[in-house]
């Protein structure tokens, strides 16, 4: 639509009357309202994290404080090992993301492209996994973890997080693989590539945007996971950010230390915002762009 011919302009002129109200008014307004809806709670937290306690408790609310403070942030690092929490979350999330992609991509490829007996049953089994509420898996998992002596070990979180995210990874990657044109793989077969090498050297490189997309979803879900992290890790210096945040008093209705909680919110979220900002162009790139043009 970059070239504009005279006909296009005529047609646009005709269309404009119908589309213009939607395009010029309803669309921008609803887009903007949605932005407010999405960001207001977060910005409020951000603002709160810099307010002094008196302003936080004030009624009516203080929208534009006259004083700002870093005390709430200082409190997080001085009274609690908050840097450790972030590090723990990072280790657990990165490891389970890599594992989920590493195990999920070949499985997805097998299900998408390779000849497989009982493919339907396998797919159904994987779908089945997504149906189990994690709570239901708890007791059995506790036993597995006790048996493998993984209590207070990062693996106690990494393994379940990988498992929980595997089905989505497999399903999404599978649909990406199915959309790939087959020519490349056919050519690779002719060139004598075996399946493993083909996946590694030809298929995966052109699905990097898909891997990144899926990986980010896994990473976020691992970073945010709460219940397993709350139960399987009891050592203070091994806790993850959500658990630490909740234990600042979020679940109790009395004496809520809003300032430090808000600061924890902000700190725990910054790495993820950076990640999304950094990768979003990649997510958005055409998924198979340029792969079969030659």
């Amino acid at each position: 639509m970059t070239t504009v011919s005279p006909e296009d302009i005529d047609r646009d002129a005709l269309k404009r009357s119908g589309d213009s109200i939607v395009k010029r008014l309803i669309l921008p307004i609803s887009a903007a309202l949605t932005v407010i809806f999405c960001l207001a709670p977060i910005l409020w937290q951000l603002l709160t994290s810099f307010k002094v306690d008196a302003d936080i408790a004030a009624i009516p609310n203080v929208y534009i404080p006259s004083r700002y403070t870093l005390d709430h942030y200082r409190a997080l690092f001085e009274r609690r090992p908050f840097f450790n929490y972030i590090l723990n979350s990072a280790i657990v999330s990165i490891a389970s993301t890599i594992l989920a992609l590493g195990l999920g991509a070949p499985a997805a490829y097998a299900l998408a492209r390779l000849k497989l007996q009982g493919e339907r049953i396998l797919l159904a089994t994987i779908l089945l996994v997504t149906l189990f509420p994690p709570i239901l898996l708890f007791l059995g998992l506790l036993e597995v973890i006790r048996y493998l002596q993984l209590g207070n070990n990062y693996l106690a979180l990494i393994i379940p997080y990988t498992a929980i995210n595997l089905p989505l990874t497999i399903l999404v990657m599978r649909s990406f693989f199915q959309q790939l044109p087959k020519d490349l793989e056919d050519a690779a077969r002719v060139d004598g590539y075996n399946t493993g090498r083909m996946l590694l050297e030809i298929v995966l490189p052109i699905t990097i945007p898909a891997l990144v997309t899926t990986g980010i979803l896994t990473f976020i879900s691992a970073w945010n996971e709460f219940i397993f992290a709350l139960t399987f890790i009891t050592r203070e210096d091994m806790k993850t950010v959500p658990v630490a945040g909740a234990q600042l008093g979020g679940a109790s209705p009395f004496e809520v230390p809003y300032g430090p909680i808000a600061a924890a919110t902000v700190l725990g979220t910054i790495p993820l915002v950076l990640l999304v900002l950094f990768f979003q162009r990649r997510i958005v790139q055409g998924l198979t762009a340029g792969a079969v043009k030659g």
């Binding site: 960001l39 779908l127 919110t265």
Partner: protein
């Protein structure tokens, strides 16, 4: 099998590959999902409180469940949750995805804005919203200030409101997530299709009706399934914001499972509730798979 071994052994380096590709994933799923699930299935026929070893009691837990009014209420709440949340999470994110897929200057900031709630942990989101919903929170202050309501709304403290207030948080956190899934799908629609459609007179919003929606059909389906499953498993928002209250009004089945297992230590009864819930989800998905297959045939 044994007799054919020499012959098939030879072919099957290559036929074996797909299974080798699947094996690690299946192993980890077996260890962390299927084994615990079977364990839970077994426990639901026992009496077990973490202290003594499980005692087989047959279907007593199921009989108790049938007569348990709170179970029926949590079931109703869960269904209400599904019915309200899923349609919004299927439709709204597609609109957002179409919006942010446009090549406009600064559109990436919209994309980031919509995606931000996804990356916030639910714990933190729950805390943030609980605060907005408070009696003197931002929302009620706004209502009072603008004259829309003199009393404010008891968002989380009234049985009439609480579950809907929690739903808003689920939707708030879900919009961007499903938008990205749709975005991935939109990116895979070749540009020339739209150009061809424009020549045929399909432009503006019609082009989305003519091209986007039909081609996005698999993604709509995917989002419907994922959002439905996650809506039946809603837990953290409730844990943080309402603890299922007031008067069980926002208690979903999963929360009830949690409550029975970890507060009442009724482990086996919790497993029973969880099992029934799983059966319901399973029935829903089978039904949906059937519909999908029927659609494909039609």
């Amino acid at each position: 099998m044994d007799k054919q071994l020499p012959k098939s052994w030879h072919i099957d380096q290559r036929q074996l590959t797909p299974y080798l590709f699947l094996l690690p994933a299946l192993l980890i799923l077996g260890l962390t999902v299927f084994y615990p699930a079977i364990q839970a299935f077994y426990l639901s026929f026992t009496r077990y409180d973490l202290i003594d070893s499980p005692q087989w009691i047959g279907v007593a837990n199921f009989r108790r469940l049938w007569a348990d009014p709170i179970f029926w209420q949590t079931l109703r709440n869960t269904i209400l949750y599904l019915v309200c949340v899923v349609p919004i999470l299927v439709i709204a994110p597609l609109g957002l995805a179409i919006l942010v897929n446009q090549k406009l200057r600064g559109i990436r900031w919209f994309r980031v804005a919509y995606y931000t709630p996804v990356i916030i942990s639910m714990v933190v989101a729950g805390i943030a919203w609980k605060w907005l919903y408070a009696d003197n929170g931002l929302l009620n202050q706004f209502l009072k200030f603008s004259g829309l309501s003199t009393e404010g709304i008891p968002w989380l403290t009234s049985p009439d409101w609480s579950i809907f207030s929690v739903m808003v948080v689920t939707i708030w956190k879900g919009l961007g997530y499903y938008m990205v899934i749709y975005l991935a799908g939109l990116q895979s629609i070749p540009e020339d299709l739209y150009e061809a459609a424009a020549i045929d007179g399909s432009d503006g919003f019609r082009k989305h009706w003519d091209i986007t929606i039909p081609l996005m059909h698999p993604y709509l389906f995917l989002v419907a399934v994922i959002s439905a499953i996650s809506a039946t498993k809603v837990f953290e928002e409730i844990y943080i914001m309402t603890q299922g209250g007031p008067l069980n009004s926002s208690k979903t089945i999963v929360y009830y499972v949690y409550e029975q297992a970890f507060q009442s230590l009724e482990i086996s009864y919790a497993c029973t509730i969880g099992l029934v819930m799983f059966m319901i989800i399973l029935a829903l998905s089978v039904l949906r798979l059937g519909v999908q297959r029927w659609e494909q045939r039609a």
